[in-house]
């Protein structure tokens, strides 16, 4: 299967509120990423903006609703919409999540956790293969952020992802913020998670910020909020990854409390500075 790639550069989540700024002059970003579901309408301003964007920049299409980790077969109607979007814009990368979001016909609009065991592994491999066959290309699967641990899990998440990649041939999207969120919520060391992660399959990295929630009983939970800058510990984890692996396409994600474009661009440049430190001099 063809395996297009994003440049080993930092990119930004594309937000419509930044369009006029971005459209004025070429921005020093390696690519833009969009959420697939926001561009599945028939026409109108979203497609006009995306059309302009895809003329000038490499594009990553990031799906959030295919429910690859769910029990039922894939929603073929939705798969058709994703295929139409990819056929129209020919993105350099297509990615989705290791999560589920559909119950029967009800769409739950969240990335929900699944147990990791032989049954779910076979199912996810089947779904990813179905997706790749439908699109005629490889896709990337993203490690999730989770707030609970499932009782029926008997595999480590990194082993589960490694097996999905091996059996389906998909690549992986390593979301370091999700690693930080899970590490804090489930009490493990993010560096040990990174050490176990099948880095050979990673084709993209996500960076984002997270929020702390404290309940009435004083229990803390780290939420995958994408509403603030990457933390210092997030940058340190990223540098460790890039030092170990070498440069990778890297996205700075924001989905709420969207900052002005120059603020987002500053984080993109911070990632680019780290990538530049580990770029081989004679590629």
């Amino acid at each position: 299967m063809p395996c297009l790639r994003l440049p080993d550069d930092a990119g930004a989540a594309f937000k419509p509120e930044h369009f006029s700024h971005i459209d004025q002059a070429r921005q020093p970003v390696g690519f833009f990423e969009i959420h697939a579901e926001n561009y599945m309408g028939a026409g109108g301003p979203p497609h006009a903006r995306l059309g302009r964007l895809s003329e000038d920049y490499a594009l990553s299409v990031h799906g959030v609703a295919l429910s690859l980790g769910g029990p039922g077969p894939l929603d073929t109607e939705h798969l058709g919409r994703l295929k139409a979007l990819c056929d129209r814009y020919q993105p350099e990368s297509v990615s989705e999540h290791l999560a589920w979001s559909r119950h029967g016909s009800t769409y739950l609009n969240d990335l929900l956790p699944l147990p990791y065991n032989a049954t779910t592994l076979a199912r996810v491999v089947g779904h990813v293969s179905h997706l790749q066959e439908a699109l005629g290309r490889t896709v990337l699967l993203e490690n999730p952020s989770t707030y609970v641990r499932m009782a029926h899990s008997d595999m480590h998440e990194t082993d589960f992802l490694a097996e999905v990649a091996r059996q389906s041939g998909c690549g992986l999207l390593l979301d370091l913020n999700n690693v930080q969120v899970c590490a804090a919520n489930h009490g493990f060391d993010p560096y040990q998670y990174l050490a176990r992660f099948p880095l050979h399959a990673v084709a993209q990295v996500h960076l984002a910020g997270h929020a702390l929630s404290v309940d009435d009983h004083g229990h803390t939970l780290v939420l995958d909020s994408h509403d603030r800058p990457v933390t210092d510990s997030g940058w340190a984890l990223y540098e460790t990854l890039i030092e170990r692996h070498g440069p990778l396409p890297t996205l700075v994600e924001w989905d709420a409390s969207i900052p002005a474009w120059p603020c987002l661009l500053r984080e993109v440049r911070q990632a680019q500075a780290i990538l530049a430190r580990y770029r081989r001099r004679n590629p």
Binding site: G43, P45, L108
Partner: protein, 251 residues
């Protein structure tokens, strides 16, 4: 074997607060309860947010607390059946019309209909609207027998309330003013190019466009409009409609 896990997880997410399928999880229970509550908040909260961004004026008219409670009840009876959240809430107007606590805001359901039409127009397929020149080329004797296809973005919303004036005042498009006469407004929503535009229509015009949308011929639609509204002027209505970019093609 695994399916009941997903069923029970999803059912507990959508059930009233307090349901907690603890045996699905492992670890410290109070920590897990917090984690599960986060999923519940995400599901309901993100759907309320999706409705609030699709229906901003409705949200403004009733305020945050009322909108949240109303949206939560709508989600409870009408959870999304597709990941296409840009379409989620097409049934909200009908729900609001029967929503007892909103009875004191009798125009609310029609404002929801207007916002539904605007959002549908925003995402509708792109197409160049039919130019007046194309119709000018049709021989006069054939003109009245034409059936016009409406542009994919065109919608007519008829109301007994001044919905467009309310919409304009609540978006800053028109200064606030006391409404002396609460006269009904019929609204044509169009998006000939990139911007969604609303136009006020006379009753006859609204009926005429509605009839054309139902694939009646020009003469049939005109007769229908004139029967109810003797002052209806076909030529004026066609000029307005063509200028607004309401038509796609004719046959």
């Amino acid at each position: 074997m695994c399916t009941p896990i997903y069923d029970r997880f999803a059912e507990a997410l959508l059930a009233p607060a307090g349901h907690y399928p603890g045996d699905l999880f492992k670890g410290n229970e109070s920590q897990l309860r917090h984690g599960f509550a986060a999923y519940r908040n995400n599901v309901i909260g993100s759907l309320i947010q999706a409705l609030a961004s699709r229906f901003p004026v409705t949200h403004t008219l009733v305020g945050e607390a009322f909108f949240q409670a109303m949206a939560a009840q709508f989600i409870h009876v009408s959870a999304p059946q597709s990941p296409m959240l840009a379409d989620y809430g097409d049934g909200l107007a009908a729900f609001v019309a029967g929503f007892e606590p909103a009875a004191s805001v009798p125009y609310l359901a029609d404002v929801v209909r207007l916002e539904t039409a605007r959002s549908q127009a925003y995402h509708a397929a792109d197409a160049p609207p039919l130019a007046a020149a194309a119709l000018a080329a049709v021989p006069a004797q054939q003109l009245l027998g034409l059936r016009l296809t409406l542009h994919p973005a065109a919608r007519v919303v008829r109301s007994a309330w001044p919905i467009l004036t309310l919409w304009e005042m609540n978006t800053g498009a028109r200064p606030w003013a006391e409404l002396d006469h609460w006269r009904g407004e019929h609204v044509l929503v169009a998006r000939p190019h990139l911007n969604v535009v609303c136009h006020r229509l006379g009753e006859g015009q609204a009926m005429f466009l509605h009839a054309l949308g139902a694939h009646l011929t020009l003469s049939q639609a005109c007769e229908q409009a004139q029967r109810e509204h003797p002052g209806f002027n076909l030529e004026g209505a066609m000029v307005c409609a063509l200028q607004a970019g309401v038509f796609l093609s004719f046959s």
